[in-house]
Symmetry: C2
């Protein structure tokens, strides 16, 4: 039934939450685990809250100790204080659980030698009994297909992206931010101090997980250098792998040490690892988010540096051109034939057909005809559009025809129609289209509806031109560095 | 009455809008000028719409030609097509107006020699009659004190920042974005092609304008190099002056040329200008916005590179530290005495007192005591806090005491109370405080209420740590480059 030794961890049939609290904000999110799991669709009859002081929580029977819960318990989430962990270990062994997630913090990351020793001791005892440990000091598992989650509001639908993160807060931010942009996850794991299961274990798992096509990671330390190099190599060889490393500065390293007891290692070592393995290196959180979008959309298919920038107004186009050039991309002038073609329906005053194209493509027909000419021009590898279509025009007429819908629905219909037009143009011209949703357009319900619709059809959306250009550049450079490695797509 | 030759342009007593349209979106914003002016509080009896096809617009009598309007007309806004401009010129001369704003586009920026000649001819005729011209191809004036505006929704209250911008769209974006962050303007002018009044004229004006304390600019071309150097020098000597230059790349220069007929000039020339003049150079739109906030708040008083970063959670603190270090700023470890002080009320598990300080300062007293220790520590030049106070706690209790208020009011009361606490700490410790409002917190009504409250009390708020750190670094570097120039503050 299980192909990989870690499969049982990601597919538990029952979960016990030890030290569960009715206060949803107890211990930074620790109070909300049972609700998150229930909302994600875990079988409520196999969720066992454990707290001697409560009879019931959220409609579930509460058990005084782990030993009192029904058999079997596959997965235990520890929400108890660190001092209580030793007695919990004995119960886990007696109960023959498969895995323990220590949300519990206060171990090696405190810098206290006694607590670091207790962490080692805990892992040794559990490993001897065949029990694997996630953590301590982490949020644990989000596996939509298994009904596991560590926060409420994560998407229920599974996807193709595997996230591993030492930080729980960063994991939450990555999941929430990417979910709004349309990305869905096969599995995510926040593993904190990594006392037992470490980054390389999860890279190894992600490499062979059939549900995972793309692997993204936030790490603070490299705990076993050789194993890390080998697993990242194996992973990145087969699947796009994007890594953000925290603690590359002295102060960041100090923070990482007190956060997850990580020894951060040098920038050079990390860069060499990514280079040798063919992994993509994210320098910032925005990089990690943007590259994940780029690598799972048609933006990954951009083959050269020629950008057609479509969309005004003028001063915005000027600064956008500078931002694109700053990333080393080109904005080649339109060939004469293309300019003549565009001039047929673009008025002279206040417009430009010479790339950047400050085009007033006011109707659907103009938008289609114009984009066809632009995408087909020599030297154009990607069309970067600052709108989804000709103003608010396109979807709205079509949405009007669909009767009886509310305003939310209408936005979605508009978005779907606008995206359909871009997808058709992309299919026809075989040049990738990328959209920049300016300013406040990127946030808010309307923006998310467009981003999700676009992403679902494989079109990347970025919040500004600079981030779009940077993502294109980093993806191109990554592809260049992969020479000699298998073509992933 | 007028001190500067350009004063009459900024303080007209009457305005005629020639070619006014009832379609608010006619000609990109051209239809909305009269509404913008009326909303800004211009005397409606001195607003004269001119359109032979209309009797009335927005409750104002419409006149068939400029010559039919009452006397005097100080300022004319031309919304007619370029071909109609020659006959409008004659009427302006006959009517003895003081200034003409040519919203009208389609002149030299088209690259058409005939239209470039018409632009020159237009300016020559008007100048001969003593009439100054703003534009063509621009949005013109926003002067809250005079009741002038070119878009609806700009703040009615005047402020201390003068904006000059060749691009109308960028002017709108700068005004809207900064207004949301609390900044207010003495005057703003979008001057497009600058056929008559050019950047150096407005720098000269801003330098001597008593309402103006800070000057910010978006320019695309340097039309008169010597005058530009002299006026920017004079301006930057007396007032903080921030310049964003578009068209520094080849493609950006091409876009600038078709946008405002600007010849963009080289990066080196522009950098040398800023360096010699003691002006701040903004590399991006975000720089221009952020530096304006920095230079008009206590962030301008930061005297060194030592940053105390306060606020978790852990993974966010790690990446934030890296972002701060990437800007060349320091995050010095807390001295032992400060750490001991903080440990008195900060729990061990999941926290750090060693800068970055991932502090759980849960009560008002803890927040005050903690911040006092942090700001007072050796080597700390600025406290960068990722929250406005101890969680949601601070303002809310105080707001509860204020009876009968609605939700909007409550947010404002919370914001005011939170900001008050920071201001008091800043006054007491004499170390500037800067706030980062993460993610979605920066946008939306709640975010704006906090930003405005903070800004009004002189506290800078940035949307992320990287932008805060960059603004601090650029401000420090600018101060360093000003050696030999007068202390502005």
């Amino acid at each position: 039934m299980f192909d990989h030794p870690l499969d049982p961890i990601f597919y538990p049939r029952s979960v016990a939450l030890v030290g569960v609290s009715s206060n949803p904000s107890a211990g930074w999110g620790g109070g909300g685990f049972h609700q998150a799991i229930l909302e994600m669709g875990f079988n409520p009859e196999a969720v066992y809250p454990v707290n001697p002081k409560m009879e019931e929580i959220s409609g579930l029977k509460c058990y005084p100790t782990l030993l009192d819960t029904p058999d079997p318990v596959d997965h235990v989430i520890s929400l108890v204080p660190a001092q209580v962990v030793p007695s919990l270990i004995d119960q886990c062994v007696a109960k023959r659980v498969r895995s323990l997630h220590l949300f519990t913090a206060g171990f090696s990351e405190t810098g206290d030698e006694r607590m670091a020793a207790m962490e080692q001791d805990t892992v040794a005892k559990l490993r001897a009994a065949g029990i694997r440990v996630i953590g301590p000091n982490c949020m644990g598992l989000y596996v939509p297909g298994s009904g596991l989650a560590f926060s409420r509001g994560f998407p229920k639908e599974p996807g193709n992206v595997f996230l591993l993160s030492q930080s729980g807060a960063n994991a939450s931010q990555i999941i929430s931010s990417l979910a709004r942009r349309g990305v869905r996850f096969s599995k995510a794991v926040s593993f904190g101090n990594g006392a037992d299961l470490k980054a390389h274990d999860f890279f190894d798992y992600a490499a062979s997980d059939p549900q995972t096509e793309v692997v993204i990671a936030y790490i603070e330390g490299i705990q076993d250098g050789r194993a890390m190099v080998e697993t990242v190599k194996r992973c990145a060889r087969q699947k796009p792998t994007i890594i953000l490393k925290g603690g590359l500065s002295a102060a960041g390293a100090r923070a990482a040490n007190s956060h997850t007891a990580s020894l951060a290692g040098s920038r050079q070592v990390f860069e060499a690892l990514c280079r040798q393995a063919g992994a993509m290196r994210a320098e910032t959180m925005n990089d990690l988010l943007d590259l994940t979008v780029a690598i799972t959309t048609s933006a990954k298919d951009i083959r050269g540096r020629g950008v057609a920038l479509v969309g005004g107004p003028g001063g915005f186009a000027v600064l956008s051109s500078d931002a694109i050039a700053a990333e080393g991309l080109d904005i080649p002038p339109m060939p004469e034939a293309a300019k003549r073609g565009l001039r047929q329906f673009i008025p002279v005053a206040g417009t430009s057909v010479n790339n950047p194209i400050d085009a007033h493509l006011r109707t659907r027909q103009q938008f289609e005809d114009g984009m066809r000419i632009i995408a087909g021009a020599d030297g154009i590898d990607v069309v970067l559009s600052t709108s989804f279509g000709p103003g608010g025009w396109i979807g709205e007429n079509e949405a009007e025809q669909a009767a009886g819908e509310g305003p939310g629905n209408r936005v979605e219909l508009n978005a779907a129609a606008a995206v359909e037009l871009l997808v058709n143009l992309q299919d026809e011209t075989r040049v990738p289209f990328v959209v920049v949703q300016r300013d406040s357009g990127f946030e808010g319900a309307r923006g998310f509806a467009y981003q999700t619709a676009a992403y679902q059809r494989g079109i990347a959306v970025f919040p500004d031109v600079a981030r779009a250009a940077r993502s294109i550049r980093l993806t191109l450079e990554w592809r260049g560095r992969r020479e000699g490695l298998p073509d992933i797509f």
